[in-house]
Assembly symmetry: C2
């Protein structure tokens, strides 16, 4: 099997807390940031909004240490289990980015 990057050269990466099993966020990697992630053992994304390498935690200190990386059955996405080296993943300061119920979201 091979990884199947999308038309932008990216693959989505689900980030899951290895201690609590909580899903923390969804990010994107390209082949370069996936290689860096594996080399340094910390999550490195490609930021789609800023169009640059995004070493998660580099500004906040909330690095994510990689415990394992799995690939789905079709090579279309990654599941990255991590240990949080800080307290938050979300830019709001929340532990996870998924704290909003869909009922609170506009149509």
């Amino acid at each position: 099997m091979e990884l199947r990057y999308n038309a932008q050269g990216l693959i989505p990466a689900v980030i899951q807390d290895d201690e609590t099993d909580a899903v923390l966020m969804l990010g994107y990697m390209n082949d370069d940031t996936l290689r860096r992630t594996r080399e340094i053992g910390q999550v490195v994304f490609w930021s789609r909004s800023r169009q640059e390498v995004w070493h998660k935690g580099a500004t906040s200190g909330d690095y994510l240490a990689v415990r394992s990386i799995s690939v789905d059955c079709e090579g279309n996405s990654l599941l990255v289990r991590v240990r949080m080296l800080g307290k938050a993943v979300c830019h709001t300061g929340a532990r996870t980015c998924y704290f909003t119920d869909i009922d609170q979201v506009a149509g």
Copy 2:
């Protein structure tokens, strides 16, 4: 906050087992299949490969009953917690699609 669909009108949906907290798969929804998902309380994707509505389990019987749907802090992705009405999520018959370690994947 509003949902932010991508250029193809899709939003990624992380599917997590509400009983075991295992991440089962990553699928995509558009506004129509998200509405159907909420209406019937079962996961309905948009199949990118077949370009059609994909009521998960319609052929296999392995329906996914929705327990909750959360939206990330930027409205870019969904986290859908489900109860599996069958035994498998993956087309291979595996419970989860994430059973391949990245070390087994070609460069």
